[in-house]
C-alpha cells in the first residue's frame, strides 16, 4: 500500500515536470529578450529537471520488477537531482552576469537600473585596468577586474 502511494507520487512528479518542461520551452522560444529567456530557463531547469529526477528516484525505489538494480537507479537519481539543484542556479547567475557586465547583445529594457548606478563609471574602470596592467608581477589580482568592459 505504501509502495503504491510512493509510486503514484513519483509518477505525478514526472508528469508535472514534463508539463513544466513544455511551458519553459515555449517561453524560451517566444520571449524576445535574453533576460526574459533567463526566467524561462529557471522554470525549465528546476521545475523541468529536478522535479522529474526526484520523481524517477521515488519510482525506481518501489518498483519490484527492477530487482537489485533499483537501489543503484535511486542513488543515481538522487545524486543527479542534488547536483542540478546546486549547479543550475549558479550557472544561470554567472551567464546573466556575463551578459550584463560584458554588454552583449541589446541593453536590457528597464525602467530603472540600480546596478548601473552603483557601478563605477567607465573611465575609472579603464584607469584601473591600465594601472593594473602596467604593474608587473601581480597577476593574481587580475581576476577581480573586468577586462572587456573597456569597449
Amino acid at each position: 500500500m505504501i509502495g503504491e502511494a510512493v509510486f503514484l507520487a513519483g509518477m505525478v512528479m514526472i508528469f508535472i515536470g514534463a508539463v513544466y518542461d513544455v511551458i519553459a520551452s515555449i517561453g524560451m522560444l517566444r520571449f524576445d529578450d535574453f533576460y526574459l529567456r533567463a526566467h524561462a530557463a529557471t522554470v525549465g531547469t528546476i521545475g523541468g529537471a529536478v522535479l522529474p529526477i526526484f520523481g524517477a528516484g521515488l519510482v525506481a525505489l518501489v518498483s519490484p520488477w527492477l530487482g537489485a538494480l533499483r537501489y543503484f537507479l535511486t542513488g543515481i537519481a538522487l545524486t543527479t537531482g542534488v547536483l542540478i539543484l546546486l549547479t543550475a542556479p549558479t550557472g544561470s547567475h554567472s551567464l546573466v552576469s556575463a551578459v550584463y557586465f560584458g554588454r552583449i547583445g541589446r541593453p536590457p529594457r528597464l525602467v530603472v537600473d540600480h546596478l548601473a548606478e552603483d557601478l563605477p563609471v567607465r573611465k575609472d574602470v579603464e584607469e584601473l585596468v591600465r594601472e593594473h596592467e602596467d604593474l608587473p608581477g601581480e597577476e593574481g589580482e587580475a581576476r577581480f577586474v573586468f577586462r572587456r568592459v573597456r569597449r
Partner: protein, 94 residues
C-alpha cells in the same frame, strides 16, 4: 493492471512531452541571436536530457544509461562557467 504496465503506458505521454520540449529548445539553440542565448538553450537541453536519461534508464533497466546523467549535468555547468570567464576576463584560467 499492475504497477509495471502503468509505468510503461504512461511513459509514452511523458516521452511525447519531452520530445516536444527538446525540439523547441533546439530551435532556440539554432537561431539564437547571441552566443549567450545558444548557451542558455543548450544548458536547459542538457539538464532536461539528464532527467529524461534517468527515466529511460528505468524503462530499459540499464545502469549505464542512467549513470551518464551525472556527467551531462556537470558538463552543462562547465559550459556556463567557461563562457563567463572568457567573456568577462578574456581568458579561461583553470
Amino acid at each position: 493492471m499492475n504497477v509495471q504496465s502503468v509505468f510503461y503506458t504512461s511513459l509514452y505521454f511523458v516521452a511525447v512531452l519531452y520530445t516536444f520540449a527538446f525540439v523547441l529548445y533546439g530551435i532556440r539553440a539554432i537561431k539564437g541571436p547571441t552566443t549567450a542565448d545558444i548557451i542558455m538553450a543548450v544548458d536547459c537541453l542538457s539538464f532536461d536530457m539528464a532527467a529524461f536519461m534517468v527515466i529511460l534508464g528505468i524503462y530499459f533497466r540499464s545502469i549505464l544509461l542512467a549513470s551518464g546523467a551525472i556527467i551531462l549535468a556537470l558538463w552543462a555547468y562547465m559550459l556556463d562557467v567557461y563562457y563567463t570567464k572568457y567573456v568577462l576576463y578574456g581568458e579561461v584560467e583553470v
